[in-house]
């Protein structure tokens, strides 16, 4: 049990992490979970010499004597812009395209790491971090606004939130003077929310239109009648949200060759399939031409709010890293990471109340949201230079190849390949390390033209940029009581 001071620290950390919103990385990965690593372009698997090793390469903590506490924070400002290549006739598109900027504009992400050397060979660590997160919001409208002023891709999604917290105790073991392995079982908590507009006149609304065609417009060709009827329906919004608790694990290996001053690291973080439990809710406008014909409760009966289940898979991460510090006061590192996003092919949602067990319900037993991601690859390189005893500076570059295929690029994943340029510095003062970094994340312009998405209006130009900045505080655990007393 931690003492009163420790409890206050843990409470503070818990508050920070619980309040965080994750939002970044390749698709929904987040790579900047350590300020020092981020300053080096996230090339840290072969370095792994601070608390964020629990995330980048847990074996690294085996080489960290003493007890340390580290808190890292990250703020993201995402500037997303989408200019559709085709819209419904009459659609009002903002002059510079739609802004998909995240709201609030500053998204904080916090991590906490603690390490404690138990013996010469054994080191214990505990980390709380969010390797996966997403916060997308393309809602530029109120439900009562004219349809043609609303965000054009709303039927593909308007909002998404994903937060996956890893609570990871870790044991690292030195198998030799220069080599260590580590394993960290993790308790993983996932929260997912997806929101989108429904009853697209060019999509799901047509299904209703076809069914009603012969009743409303007898003698008119079915498809033509369906197209008219689908425009007489109100737009609706669906929201599904759920949480899941499950387990995962991380393992790592680090070898330090003293002669060449070269480190080699390997890391693996397991894939997670979160079995979500949550709610599905639906809402519809209440002023539409068909309302008095089909009854005001027709749509609410067709789309009943209910408990749902589903599953959501986050990928495994494989990484290898090298670092070398043979050059005077300089360290150079390189990482290659692969995430098997191919696992993220679909998100099945299961509706307990569905068309098979209740009359007039329009929901299927299972709705599968297809994404069909491919694997993603990261190449990172970083340089760290010690300028003086208490000041170190860093530069880095990260090339991040997006796993999102054209078909899934849209309001939920406005993703593209990225080139990130980072700088960072650490200042030591009174036995504590203060680290800062800044990252300019440049997305390649991405133009999509997928025939299957033509009626979702998600084809077009995606033009994105993001600013990331963060800071970290790392200190020796013995200093902690003094710190608390001082404040």
């Amino acid at each position: 049990m931690p003492g009163p001071a420790g409890a206050r620290i843990l409470a503070l950390v818990a508050l920070l992490t619980a309040g965080s919103l994750s939002c970044f990385g390749s698709a929904f990965s987040i790579a900047e979970l350590g300020a020092r690593a981020a300053g080096m372009g996230t090339a840290f698997i072969g370095v792994a010499d601070d608390g964020s090793a629990l995330y980048y390469n847990p074996a690294g903590i085996a080489f960290q004597p003493g007890k340390h506490m580290e808190m890292d924070s990250l703020v993201v400002v995402g500037l997303f812009r989408f200019t559709p290549s085709a819209t419904p006739v009459g659609q009002v598109v903002p002059a510079n395209g739609y802004s998909q900027s995240i709201k609030p504009h500053f998204i904080p992400v916090a991590s906490m790491y603690m390490t404690a050397q138990m013996s010469d060979k054994l080191t214990f660590g505990f980390g709380i971090f969010t390797p996966f997160g997403l916060s997308a919001n393309s809602t530029n409208f109120h439900d009562g606004d004219p349809n043609l002023t609303k965000f054009v891709g709303r039927f593909a999604g308007t909002r998404a939130r994903l937060e996956q917290f890893w609570f990871q105790p870790t044991l690292a073991y030195k198998v030799s003077k220069n080599a260590a392995i580590a394993v960290g079982p993790a308790f993983v908590h996932t929260h997912l929310m997806l929101e989108q507009s429904i009853l697209n006149p060019k999509g799901d609304g047509l299904v209703f239109g076809r069914q009603a065609a012969n009743t409303l417009f007898p003698g008119v060709p079915k498809e033509q009648a369906a197209a008219v009827i689908s425009r007489l329906l109100p737009e609706g919004r669906s929201r599904v949200a759920g949480t899941a608790d499950t387990v995962g694990f991380s393992v790592g290996f680090l070898y330090k060759d003293e002669g060449s001053k070269t480190n080699v690291g390997l890391t693996f973080r397991s894939a997670i399939t979160s079995h979500l439990k949550g709610k599905a809710s639906f809402a519809f406008g209440n002023d539409y031409p068909l309302q008095q014909y089909i009854g005001s409760d027709f749509l609410t009966n067709a789309f009943p709010n209910q408990n749902i289940t589903g599953s959501f898979t986050t990928p495994a991460t494989y990484g290898i890293g090298l670092s070398n510090s043979s050059v005077h006061k300089m360290r150079i590192s390189f990482d290659f990471r692969m995430q098997d996003y191919k696992r993220f092919s679909s998100v099945p949602l299961n509706f307990g109340i569905n068309e098979t067990n209740k009359k007039n319900v329009a929901l299927p037993a299972e709705q599968r949201l297809a994404f069909n991601f491919k694997n993603s690859y990261h190449y990172a390189v970083g340089v760290e230079r010690t300028l003086s005893e208490d000041l170190t500076v860093r530069l880095g570059y990260l090339r991040d190849l997006s796993p999102v295929p054209d078909q899934s690029v849209g309001p939920l994943f406005p993703d593209a390949n990225r080139n990130s340029f980072t700088i960072g510095a650490t200042k030591k003062r009174n036995g504590k390390d203060y680290t800062m970094f800044y990252e300019a994340m440049v997305f390649e312009h991405r133009t999509t033209d997928v025939a299957a998405n033509s009626n979702l209006y998600t084809n077009g130009l995606y033009h994105n940029f993001a600013h990331l900045a963060g800071m970290a505080l790392r200190f020796d655990m013995p200093a902690m009581p003094k710190l608390m007393k001082k404040h």
Binding site: P88, V89, G205, Q211, R231, P289, A302, A451
Partner: protein, 432 residues
């Protein structure tokens, strides 16, 4: 009328719906014009009124229906069983007595595999109503009972805008033409209104019956703006000049219809060469000719050139307001008036025949105001050309010759053979 049947008939609408949630996929929108929902607000011309009533005879071949077919879009119409409904321009108003033989349901019920399922369309997209004025389009709504014996106009409104709505067991909206058009959430709208006002004034020979341009402009602006606010493409038509229709004929033209010389008409009836003889006038003259006795013509037989000029001037003023309202609301103007003028001046070629604007000239039906199916086809093609030019589309035109081959109006013939001369009519005048 199957009134009891209807309330039950449409109940299944309320219990529809399975499998809506799956997304459907269609082709990308490539044209700047979305023709998904084509709604027409008009009066008798766009409704397909012809001869002596509104009925399927010409409704199915009305120019909006022909255009919709070429656009490949749904266009349910309020089809009326022959002999039709509605008052005929220039004749006294009739009592509304429906159904009349051989009508059954009055509104046509679409055939279904099970005859008990036969039903009319619940909504229509051709909202045009014979005799409707612009002001009516925003004010008149269906009112029960559906048949109002002393009010044919209200009955026609009921049969078009209120059928089957007036029979529903649950309360449903009873829309004006304008409200109805908006409720259908059109992507493309055609507004053909104002012609009946012009006809009414011209047939009565009373320019003061023309609406005030300012009031007309205000209402017209409301209509166009209301449709444009839905982001619909809106095509408005100018008002044709009734004096270009077959209802009005100069003595030169009327002479060919009643088989005499223009001189006999001007001298015998004391009119000038610029005055207009109406359809009723020509019928009265023909009757007198057969009786070999010329006498005073009944009221409404002649419209003087001065009155015609006054009415024409007022029509031009309304057309200016239509153009202005369209411009203000980013709608486009199809010059229907120019089409009718062109027909009057030079006629139009259909195969080897020249169709003219004269009575019995192949374009107008026997009411002399509204076209037959060939006339509608000619209008449709002109409108389609306008649409293609305006929206950079390539919708095919209508095969007019095929329609003309089945159009009885094309078989109408002016009298051939001898003509009535002064001596034959007992006139003591010297023909030039």
């Amino acid at each position: 009328m199957k009134t009891q049947y209807l309330g039950v008939k449409f109940f299944p609408v309320a219990v529809l719906g399975v499998g809506i949630y799956c997304s459907g996929l269609l082709q990308a929108q490539t044209s700047p014009l979305d023709t998904t929902t084509f709604v027409v607000m008009g009066e008798g011309l766009a409704a397909g009124m012809a001869n002596f009533g509104l009925s399927t005879t010409v409704q199915t071949g009305s120019f909006p229906a022909l255009v919709a077919a070429q656009l490949k879009t749904a266009f349910p119409q309020p089809l009326i069983q022959p002999p039709g409904i509605g008052d005929v321009v220039g004749y006294p108003m009739r009592e509304a007595i429906l159904p009349v033989y051989p009508q059954g349901t009055v509104r046509v019920f679409q055939s279904q595999p099970n005859p008990n399922d036969d039903a009319p369309t619940v909504f229509v997209l051709n909202l045009s109503i014979p005799g409707l004025k612009l002001a009516d389009s925003v004010l008149m709504r269906p009112v029960p009972p559906i048949i109002q014996q002393k009010n044919m106009k209200q009955t026609v409104v009921n049969m078009i805008l209120g059928f089957p709505q007036l029979f529903f067991q649950r309360p449903v909206p009873l829309w004006t033409q304008f409200d109805y058009a908006k409720a259908m959430f059109p992507t493309l709208s055609l507004v053909e209104l104002g012609f009946y006002e012009a006809l009414d004034a011209a047939v009565a020979g009373d320019p003061t019956r023309m609406p005030d341009p300012a009031a007309f402009a205000a209402t017209y602006g409301t209509v166009v703006r209301g449709l444009r606010d839905l982001q619909a493409q809106v095509i408005v038509t100018t008002i044709p000049n009734p004096f270009d229709t077959a209802y009005f004929a100069t003595p030169d033209i009327a002479a060919s219809v009643v088989a005499t010389s223009p001189f006999i008409l001007t001298a015998g009836y004391h009119i000038t060469g610029q005055d207009y003889i109406t359809r009723n006038g020509m019928q009265a003259i023909s009757s007198q000719f057969w009786k070999r006795t010329l006498g005073p013509l009944p009221a409404g037989s002649v419209v003087t050139a001065a009155v015609a000029a006054d009415i024409t001037s007022r029509i031009n003023a309304l057309n200016a307001q239509i153009v202005s309202a369209a411009k203000a609301n980013n709608a486009v103007v199809y010059d229907l008036n120019a089409f009718f003028r062109k027909l009057r001046v030079s006629g139009m070629q259909v195969g080897t025949r020249t169709v003219t604007a004269d009575y019995l000239g192949g374009f107008y039906s026997l009411d002399a105001v509204y076209p037959g199916t060939t006339g509608h086809a000619l209008i449709a093609n002109d409108l389609l050309s306008f649409i293609n030019q305006t929206y950079k589309t390539s919708f095919p035109t209508v095969n007019v010759q095929a329609i003309a081959a089945a159009d009885p109006v094309m078989s109408y013939q002016k009298p051939a053979g001898g003509s009535f001369g002064a001596r034959m009519l007992g006139l003591d005048i010297n023909e030039p």
